[in-house]
């Protein structure tokens, strides 16, 4: 799966989760850019990503992710 494909799939996950088809993710997107993205939603997003990509994060993987780019990097690493 290419990085672009991963971003697109994650974007779909975000759109469904926040019920907002206008969300466009870039590497620089952070929680500050999406109104309802709080710590609880962070857990929901990560758990949905785990299910959709059939991967499992460790505690260290997802601590202090700075932005969507960092999130995509972790997914790419897990998929590799």
């Amino acid at each position: 799966m290419t990085r672009e494909e991963v971003i697109e799939k994650v974007q779909d996950i975000f759109r469904n989760n926040f019920d907002d088809d206008e969300i466009v993710l870039t590497d620089e997107t952070t929680a500050a850019d999406i109104e309802d993205w709080d710590s609880l939603e962070q857990i929901n997003l990560l758990s949905t990503i785990e299910r959709e990509f059939k991967i499992k994060f460790t505690v260290g993987d997802v601590e202090g992710l700075a932005n969507v780019g960092a999130m995509i990097d972790v997914i790419m690493k897990k998929l590799a």
Partner: protein, 588 residues
């Protein structure tokens, strides 16, 4: 019900869109629900909201602070009191227990058990004083059992500790009104203990359930809540061929159908029949809705292995009409809403036709016969929150109703028919022994209900005891049997005026003039207390238009209001003539 079968992944990933869609249904019963936290409540609140909305209940939530269920219930009740919850859900789990372990002395292990029991009891007692319904999770088994099998045996074992606690929670539910057990011990076993929790989610976020398990937890809690508030289904309509037996009775004959233990194929249908039979013991009404000749259809139940007999069905519609229409007829015959019916049919095409007709009936997706019973059972349609003798007899009562309807056609006029029923109404103030029944009835009656006011057990008890209120409950007996307590009135006295805050009657005794007998008794009770005026209100809901003009019919004058809410007034005449003429009334 839109969210059954439960698709956890879909629900978790699309909760906002689902909520938006469910909210469009409108017409909600509003309830205040406090979730007291064992650990992270998190998504539980949001997903529970979806299941409640799906049941027509719109929750307002108060979520307690992290991990403080004990303190907030016992020491810091102000916040709870101010919120005034209808329901308190204690979201605890195994991480809220101070578990013993190998090496722990017997004394120490027993002390821990007593401490845990004492701590939870204090929470439950405090909640009881608040007058709210309490829902308590019991406990799932631990992921790790250091002693292996012996963990369930030894006093220091964790498995044994959990089993003891679960027995303790169940005992409380058996002996206390308004206390309900949410059986996560069963749920986690059924779902798979290994998947029920996810250590990484507990370690990182203190989630006691894996995210994927949360929808199942929430459905279970919602099932309890909707059952308490009278939103259970009441009847199961069953197809016959390949639903209650294998094969086609019209072609194969009674010798040719598969039912019973002789052939492997017959066992699944036997299980389905046993399940349906057991439902009647919980007060669920059974009916047949089948495309068949009536005579052939009935012959199937003559099979020696058939657990169900034609007598078990309150309605028997075996004909060639379309099934959606038959289901609507069945609802009419039983005098229940179509939305109180679950329809079980092995044929996907028939199910789809009934769904498409949008009758409101629930149509679970049945696949293989081996799973018919569990698919219906896990739907929670008939969730039991208490089981009174009345419930056990209810199926029988509906059947008697159908007999009465059959008899009606042979009388010249309706009054003559009523006389022939040889009715006796037993009307008296609420009693301690009837309190559970009158509370349950008040909270689940929707059609003949002028105000749709709901009560906690404590509020009901207060009305029974206080001089400020007049209470009347009515039990109706006739030659076909005893209907149990089916109607009640609560009036609030202020000077020489009585305001009726609740007047309800079960739909199974409509058109028997029991409401007249109740009014006669109410007037007599008022006269005895020097009350001269009776006032009442009508609040419209989706289900109670049948009583919109009820007070007018009794001779009340409308003093104000419109279609949605009206107020009525009645001055008791010096010479009141009883309205009921077809029933003997006794006050015991």
């Amino acid at each position: 019900m839109e969210l059954y079968p439960v698709d956890g992944n879909y629900i978790l990933s699309n909760k906002r869109a689902i909520k938006k869609r469910l909210l469009e249904k409108g017409n909600f019963l509003e309830k205040k629900i406090a979730i007291l936290s064992g650990t992270t409540v998190g998504e539980i609140k949001n997903i529970l909201e979806l299941f409640l909305l799906d049941y027509g209940i719109k929750p307002e939530f108060l979520v307690g602070d992290y991990g403080r269920f004990f303190e907030e219930a016992v020491f810091e009740q102000e916040r709870l009191k101010e919120f005034g919850p209808d329901v308190i859900f204690v979201q605890s789990g195994i991480h809220n227990l101070d578990l013993p372990g190998a090496g722990c002395s017997v004394d120490e292990a027993e002390k821990r058990l007593e401490t845990a029991k004492g701590k939870f009891s204090a929470v439950w007692d405090a909640a009881e004083k608040l007058g709210a319904v309490l829902i308590q999770n019991n406990f799932e088994y631990p992921r790790i059992r250091p002693m292996g099998n012996f963990d369930a045996v030894d006093v220091s074992g964790k498995v044994r500790f959990v089993a003891e606690m679960n027995a303790f929670v169940a005992e409380r539910a058996r002996t206390h009104r308004g206390f309900y057990l949410n059986d996560i011990n069963y749920l986690s076993a059924w779902y798979g203990l290994d998947r029920w929790s996810d250590p990484s989610y507990y370690n990182s976020y203190k989630y006691q359930q894996a995210p994927e398990a949360i929808p199942y937890l929430c459905k279970s809690v919602a099932d309890i809540i909707k059952s308490i508030y009278g939103k259970n289904q009441k009847a199961l309509m069953l197809d016959l061929d390949n639903t209650l037996w294998g094969g086609v009775i019209g072609d194969d004959g009674v010798e040719g159908i598969a039912i019973g233990t002789e052939a492997p194929g017959g066992i699944a249908y036997l299980d389905m029949q046993k399940y349906a039979k057991e439902l009647t013991g919980m007060g669920v009404v059974l009916g047949v809705v089948s495309k068949n000749e009536d005579k052939a259809a009935r012959s199937g139940f003559d099979h020696p292995s058939s657990v169900l007999k034609t007598d078990d069905f309150a309605v028997f519609l075996a004909n060639w009409n379309d099934k959606a229409g038959n289901i609507q007829s069945a609802a009419k015959m039983l005098n229940i809403g179509v939305d109180a019916i679950v329809f079980a049919d092995d044929n996907p095409a028939e199910r789809e036709i009934v769904r498409a007709a949008k009758t409101g009936a629930e149509v679970p997706e049945l696949d293989s016969p081996e799973r018919f019973a569990e698919t219906v059972a896990r739907g929670g349609y008939f969730e039991v929150t208490s089981l009174s003798d009345d419930d056990r007899r209810r199926a029988e009562m509906y059947k008697q109703n159908a007999q009465r309807a059959a008899e009606l056609s042979s009388f010249a006029d309706y009054g003559q028919y009523l006389d022939s029923l040889e009715m006796t109404g037993y009307i008296k103030p609420f009693t301690e022994g009837a309190l559970e029944r009158v509370t349950a009835l008040a909270n689940k009656t929707n059609q003949f209900n002028l105000t749709t006011k709901r009560y906690t057990a404590e509020e009901m008890e207060e009305r029974m005891k206080s001089e400020r209120f007049i209470t009347l409950s009515g039990r109706l007996e006739d030659k076909f049997g005893d209907n149990g307590i089916v109607t009640e009135i609560i009036g609030d006295i202020s000077g020489d005026t009585l305001d009726i805050e609740l007047w309800i009657m079960s739909c199974r005794v409509f058109k028997r003039e029991l409401e007249y007998a109740m009014f006669d008794e109410l007037v007599a009770a008022c006269k005895a207390k020097g009350i001269r005026k009776i006032t009442g209100s009508y609040y419209r809901t989706a289900k109670n238009p049948i009583v919109a003009e009820f007070y007018g019919e009794l001779g009340f004058t409308k003093t104000e209001g419109d279609d949605d809410h009206s107020k009525w007034e009645y001055t008791i005449p010096d010479e009141y003539v009883n309205r009921n003429t077809h029933m003997e009334v006794k006050n015991d």
